[in-house]
């Protein structure tokens, strides 16, 4: 009897002793990923001057997420998977390795790059890819390769192939305004329109082929749409008063903009198919700076209807409007993040203007920049980097910051002042 009781207690007790242990890991290290790009071997008699591996390295290092190994530090230069001695790379603390060869394509102008990405830690091939580009413009090919590497490792689209559009103002020899487009690495900066009268508010179409902007060339503000690659221009139906702040819908069927024809600035929607304006907000205050949500269902905008500039969100279908910012007396120029969950904007605190980000669901606000005269934030199509306008001494410049606030940079731009940057959408498919 006792024996039975004791035995059952013993069984219960012993099962008490072993458990399925679960250990939770809630954070990691913020160190950049270390990547080694072995100089790509050219199978050509006259290899081009550009070094692909240098452009790829510099693309990946642009925003602080990667650090690349210089070829000088490499212990070996493998040309194929068989030649990889993983121990060499582990010694150098490398996380990923890229090997590639380049050869002539079907035509003399075509270059084909065959590259492979290896996970050094797990000693395995991650991705093999063939990328084709023009010999006369190898940078574009390098950017495509960088984006594919970025995407495979990070699970997000790379932004090396994107562009930035902005307004450049020069005072000498005479007052002139330029609408410029440059690759995100600063190359190929070119003017796509210039005028002796002010140009403002460039906005990229979702298909990346057109820019909408405001021009005063006719003596009054008017919104124009220009095809980037053909130069073809078209003016939207002109209304009296202010015509400004154009912003494309995700479908490119509409543009949100600001008109003051009804007496005070309100948000209107332009239908590109039948050239008609439709009023969306109707308030005696100033409603301006609209931005379409990524799903096309909402528009976020700035309004002073409560007495000071604040951010509001409107449901396009039922016109219902909700105020979003309640901290501080100046919140303006909101732009949705690509996932639609937050927005970046200009927030004034203690008299200083910073770029901040706020979560739409939790309303949690976070100031990102410590520069103090910030305006016009624009966010990269993968949501990782913000470029904005600010002042450096007296000069108008463009600066950038990663969304986690850890990496900052200044864009090298030409003479004169630069303003109102607008980040292009993803321009090249990075699939396969």
């Amino acid at each position: 009897m006792i024996l039975r009781i004791l035995t059952s207690l013993f069984i219960i007790y012993s099962s008490f002793l072993s458990s399925d242990l679960r250990i939770e890991i809630t954070k990691g290290i913020k160190d950049p990923i270390r990547i080694a790009i072995v100089p790509i071997a050219w199978n050509l008699e006259n290899p081009p001057r550009e070094y692909l591996h240098q452009i790829i390295s510099s693309d990946l290092e642009s925003f602080g997420e990667f650090v690349s190994l210089s070829p000088k530090e490499m212990l070996s230069l493998p040309k194929s998977e068989q030649e990889i001695f993983y121990r060499d790379w582990k010694l150098l603390d490398v996380d990923y390795l890229v090997l590639g060869t380049a050869s002539r394509g079907e035509s003399a102008q075509e270059i084909v790059v065959n590259f492979s990405l290896f996970n050094v830690t797990r000693e395995r091939l991650m991705k093999r890819s063939i990328s084709v580009g023009s010999a006369s413009y190898l940078n574009a090919l390098a950017h495509i390769i960088s984006d594919r590497i970025y995407n495979e490792i990070n699970g997000l689209p790379g932004i090396s192939s994107t562009k930035i559009s902005y307004i450049n103002q020069n005072s000498l020899p005479e007052q002139k305004y330029f609408l410029r487009v440059a690759d995100i690495d600063g190359r190929n900066d070119s003017s796509i329109f210039s005028s002796s009268e002010p140009l403002m508010s460039p906005s990229w179409s979702s298909d990346g082929k057109r820019l909408a902007y405001v021009s005063f060339e006719e003596g009054t503000s008017r919104i124009f749409i220009q095809e980037i690659y053909t130069g073809k221009r078209k003016g939207l139906k002109l209304e009296r008063g202010i015509n400004s702040s154009p912003n494309w819908s995700p479908s490119d069927k509409y543009l949100a903009a600001v008109l003051s024809k009804e007496g005070n600035p309100d948000i209107f929607r332009y239908d590109l198919e039948n050239d008609k304006w439709k009023q969306l907000t109707d308030h005696f205050g100033i409603d301006t700076e609209p931005d379409w949500s990524p799903d096309g269902r909402k528009i976020i905008f700035t309004s002073n209807r409560s007495g000071s500039p604040q951010i509001y969100e409107m449901n396009v279908s039922n016109k219902k409007i909700r105020r979003k910012t309640f901290e501080g007396t100046y919140n303006a120029r909101a732009r949705y993040t690509p996932d639609g969950k937050s927005f970046v904007f200009v927030h004034r605190r203690d008299g200083l203007f910073h770029i901040a980000v706020q979560n739409l669901r939790t309303s949690k606000l976070q100031i990102l920049t410590d520069t103090t005269l910030d305006e016009s934030p624009t966010i990269s199509p993968n949501g990782k980097v913000i470029i904005y306008a600010t002042k450096d001494k007296e000069k108008d410049i463009l600066a950038g910051i990663s969304i986690d606030g850890k990496t900052r940079f200044i864009l090298p731009t030409n003479s004169g002042g630069v303003r109102e940057p607008s980040w292009s959408p993803l321009l090249v498919s990075t699939g396969n």
Partner: protein, 188 residues
């Protein structure tokens, strides 16, 4: 038979049986000396002592036959058993916590989260170790649905490859650390 004797010692019911010596048994429960109803500082030495002592079998007299006595024994036994479990589990819980933290720190040091990492993503990896701390098997038991995130966790585990300083008792290792699950769940 022998089991009953040992329990008797444990509960200091010496007057029921006449035994001269402590009777160690190869049963798990009986690895402390009777006076160890309080925590033992160094279990290892105790173990050693026990194994050095020979096992003695003695004739067992009839157990108490009144119901009341049986009830008393049962109640006393329950209470004392509870106390032992508490003491035993308390030290184990502290040890488990200590070594879990060691493991956690070593994984954190090697985990580079990918850009796409978001709060709410969870990946679970079942780890199998040998007593040296070396990882001999890695199984992805629950994917986060995001390949880059899963890969970053697998990379972290691969980078660790061998956990340092996991010098714990064999029992603790077998029960909790031979196989355990790492749950990667960023909180930012």
């Amino acid at each position: 038979m022998g089991l009953v004797l040992s329990f008797a010692n444990f509960f200091q019911i010496d007057n029921l049986y006449s035994l001269n010596k402590i009777e160690p048994m190869p049963a798990y429960l009986v690895f402390e000396k009777p006076q160890a109803l309080k925590k033992i500082a160094n279990k290892k030495t105790v173990k050693k002592q026990i194994f050095e002592e020979p096992v003695i079998a003695s004739p067992i007299p009839e157990a108490a036959d009144t119901r009341a006595e049986l009830e008393n024994i049962k109640v006393e036994k329950d209470l004392l058993l509870k106390e032992i479990i508490n003491n035993e589990t308390k030290s184990s819980v502290e040890e488990i916590s200590f070594f879990s933290n060691l493991i956690r720190d070593q994984v954190i040091m090697n985990w580079k989260q990918p850009s796409s990492a978001q709060k709410g993503m969870t990946v679970e990896i079942l780890i199998t170790l040998v007593p040296t701390g070396e990882i001999i098997q890695v199984n992805l038991t629950k994917s986060s649905g995001n390949q880059a995130f899963d890969n970053s966790a697998l990379n972290a585990v691969q980078k660790v490859s061998k956990f340092e300083s996991l010098d714990m008792g064999r029992k603790l290792f077998d029960n909790h650390f031979r196989k355990f699950t790492l749950v990667f769940n960023p909180e930012n």
